[in-house]
Amino acid sequence: MTSPLDVSGAELQAMPEAVLEGTQSKAIEGRSLGQIAWTRLKRDKVALTGAGVVIFLILVAIFAPLIVSWLGHPPNDFNQDLISSETLAPKDGTGISGDHLFGVEPVNGRDIFSRVVYGARISLLIAFLATLLSVCIGTVLGIVAGYFGGWVDSLISKAMDIFLAFPLLVFAIALAGVVPDTAFGLSGDALRVSLLVFIIGFFNWPYIGRIMRGQTLSLREREFVDAARSLGARGPYIIFREMLPNLMAPILIYSTLLIPTNILFEAALSFLGVGVRPPTATWGGMLSDAVRFYTIPHFMFFPGMAIFITVLAFNLFGDGLRDALDPRAR
């Protein structure tokens, strides 16, 4: 029942109860909801800022090569001449200059700015895909459990219980650590990214699943579903045409709020050395390198702040979205 990391564990927890109560007592009014939400969201400056930062980060990730060719250096290139061969630190302390905006790494003098920019790619890619995977599995199984009930429900619910009993992080590290470098016809970064997406996404679905099950349970008893059923509609039709549209709001909210959790998860795995292989830049990987050089603070500052700002932006936007779509949940 708790989120994968021993950080911000409580955050996701809060939502099930809050939203359940919110939606149970107040109908979600189909199409007009989107318009109402948009009006509300437009007024929420904080959430809009979050959204702006998110969009900015996505653009940075997409155009990383362009940005780096303009403002930085190839992310894996050494700049050994900037490094003291005695202390391994940048000769002037940080290496920050017009040429190296965030300074350079100790030992090899790689450009921190470029590595942070490229790190955004891995971080966002994995977080988005993993979230997509969790949401897909969670939504399908949650709806199936909630809609059909009976033994199907109890089977899926028990499965979710078992999943939630796994020490996720330990398990994820162990799994990411034993998978070989070439497997399933993939190798290199492609394999590692797919593997991380699978591990993060696959272990997170029960959170979404539980919420979806609860929502479906309450929707199932509602008049419009009864009406559809009495008109002869069958399972698939009811699920896809009647229920899914009504579930879009919670799906959207939880996807937005799951992304930052997954960013933290990916960073944690990279930090523990089982993420994407070096020399590919990741924020977590940079932080774990920086621990050895904790007397050179700028090295940990930039990747750390990158994680912080990204996660914060998603949280701000997610909170705003939830408030807009479901004001009582506040």
Binding site: N76, S85, T87, L88, A89, V107, P278, R292
Partner: protein, 592 residues
């Protein structure tokens, strides 16, 4: 290869120690005598490298508890199982082997002197048989007298690598064991007199399969530390090793730490080499490495046990502050950090392609990856470290004027190899070692400049040799063309350094050998020739020949000859670097 640090000799030490070794003279000189030979005013001044060749802060004051910390954990405290350099250094506090390295600073420390034995080994049968006489009156901590049978049993039990997987196999490989012998536990009733005889309680005779002139180096291995059969608990013996030295175990929690207290059964009269100054030792294991440095500098801790030197985060602080720098020593160790070039992987089966790798490598980046000039080491141009007898200065593949690699020569070699545009291969390294990761990244960069594309392949350290890089089938199948590697001498001598590293016969299909790339029958022949040669003057040049041959084959890309930046603990007396161990000698330290 499992050893974190090495036993060794420093080049600088070799020169500076000349004066001292003259004073040292005969056998069994204790460091106090060497200390007395140090400059007036009570030993070396507090300056950089003060304890490199002299005793720093000499004293005979007793008392106090020396506090040591270890960033990792012992492979094992069991004398039959341990293979870490610091452990061989420390074990002498609770165990006495037949012979030992002399507890003295610098070059003098590489001299062997008797410990449990009355004198060094007496060879007979053209160095195929070695006889040692034990001293009278040496006892275990429970008061039982130590006999030659206890030494024999200790060696026999160390044979069983299922129980003691960490140790070396010198005795297994060289002694004339009966056929199908499986060690003291599994072959309980076997007659092992063909390998080790004990004609009486004070005499032990070793029988070798082939003559070996350097057997005294074997006799200093911790496996000759006596073990009482009645108290042996196999794999659990490490939880309470029965002491034969001046200290014994009091409390021992594997994975956390232990302490040693005085062993009242130890008799100083039988032991001229140990001062036994402090009242005890307190050892903590698995301590954060950066904290160890901080505590050493603040005086809260006396010794960093691993002896591998300051952490990178500490370098900036220590090297830029003259006062702090004056509390450090910077020995060169008989360890080579290198990269194996696997001739089994195409196109590295072609000599010219291997040469291209040698030329293209950026040696400065290699050095920085390992910690720079002080903490990393000196750029290596061949295998043999300068401190090993037989070393010659050769540089078959000059890495350009500034040591950043010679791209032009590398291109030439690539063309000669038929791969003018370069090729692709993989480089493996141990995932837990940030320095090896940095090395792999550095080679990826510098080799990439001439078109040799490397993909990084990290593997877990525990299985690196057994299952991955060191397993020929796996390495070939997965195209591990390069493998980041390192090797330190088991003792400062050409055999101790080269044998496990370049002998192609140690390579097994089942994996596990440290040599993963050198396959040259001529090198093997030279090794045999050297180990049969009893004349030192003729033997030593052969090590140089082997070095040259392996370099010509380009099976090894030498990186650096290791150095470490050691911090002297505050208030510790008798501090000096032992070249035999490449770190501070732990035997005779005391507290002010």
């Amino acid at each position: 290869m499992k050893r974190k640090t090495t036993l060794g000799v420093t080049a600088l030490g070799a020169v500076l120690a000349l004066g001292l070794s003259a004073c040292g003279g005969g056998t069994a000189t204790s460091p106090s005598q060497s200390g007395a030979a140090a400059p007036a005013g009570g030993g070396a001044k507090a300056e950089f490298n003060a304890a490199l060749t002299q005793v720093y802060n000499p004293s005979d004051k007793k008392g106090g508890i020396i506090k040591l910390a270890n960033a990792g954990d012992w492979d094992s405290l069991d004398p039959g199982d341990t293979y870490y350099g610091y452990s061989w250094n420390f074990i002498r506090l609770y165990g006495r082997s037949l012979v030992m390295f002399k507890p003295a600073p610098g070059k003098e420390s590489t001299e062997l002197i008797p410990d449990l034995a009355e004198s060094l080994g007496v060879p007979s049968d053209n160095a195929k048989t070695w006889t040692y006489k034990l001293k009278q009156g040496v006892k275990f901590e429970d008061g039982t007298p130590i006999t030659s049978k206890d030494v024999k049993y200790a060696v026999e039990r160390s044979f069983d690598k299922e129980v003691f997987p960490d140790g070396y196999t010198y005795f297994n490989d060289t002694l004339n064991w009966p056929k199908d012998y499986k060690g003291a536990y599994k072959s309980k009733d076997a007659d092992t007199d063909s390998a080790i005889e004990t004609p009486d309680d004070q005499t032990i005779v070793f029988h070798l399969k082939q003559p070996y002139s350097g057997f005294d180096y074997f006799a200093q291995l911790p496996a000759t530390i006596p073990v009482p059969k009645a108290k042996d608990t196999g794999a659990k013996y490490k939880e309470h090793v029965i002491s034969s030295g001046p200290y014994k175990f009091d409390k021992n929690e594997i994975g956390k730490g232990f302490n040693l207290v005085r062993n009242d059964q130890w008799d100083a009269a039988t032991d001229p080499n140990r001062k036994a100054l402090p009242d005890g030792y307190e050892v903590t294991t698995n301590v954060n490495a950066d904290d160890i440095d901080n505590r050493l500098l603040s005086g809260d801790l006396h010794v960093d046990l691993a002896g591998t030197g300051a952490q990178p985060a500490t370098l900036g602080r220590v090297l830029t502050d003259p006062n702090l720098k004056a509390t450090t020593d910077n020995p060169t160790i008989t360890r080579l950090w290198y990269t194996s070039i696997n001739g089994n992987v195409k196109p590295l089966d072609n000599l010219d392609c291997r040469k291209a790798v040698e030329y293209a490598a950026d040696k400065v980046a290699y050095q920085t990856a390992y910690g720079g000039e002080f903490s990393g080491g000196q750029i290596a141009t061949s295998l043999l470290p300068p401190g090993i007898p037989g070393h010659k200065d050769i540089n078959p593949y000059p890495a350009g004027a500034d040591n950043h690699g010679d791209a032009a020569k590398a291109k030439e070699a690539l063309t000669a190899c038929g791969q003018p545009n370069g090729f692709e291969t993989n480089i493996s390294y141990r995932a837990e070692r940030p320095k090896e990761k940095a090395t792999a990244e550095a080679l990826q960069q510098s080799l990439g400049k001439v078109g040799i594309k490397l993909t990084l392949k990290p593997f877990p350290q525990a299985d690196y040799f057994a299952l991955y890089a060191g397993k020929p089938g796996y390495a070939k199948e997965n195209k591990l063309g390069l493998a980041v590697n390192g090797w330190g001498a088991d003792w400062p001598d050409g055999y101790g350094f080269l044998q496990q590293m370049v002998d192609s016969r140690v390579i097994r299909e089942t994996g596990g050998s440290s040599n993963i790339s050198v396959r040259d029958p001529e090198v093997d022949k030279l090794l045999d020739q050297a180990s049969l040669e009893t004349d030192v003057a003729k033997r030593e040049p052969i090590w140089g020949q082997i070095d040259q041959k392996v370099m010509d084959d380009a099976f090894i890309l030498p990186g650096i000859w290791a150095k470490s930046l050691l911090i002297r603990g505050k208030g510790v007396t008798n501090v000096y670097v032992s070249d035999a161990f490449g770190m501070y000698d732990y035997l005779n330290m005391g507290l002010q």
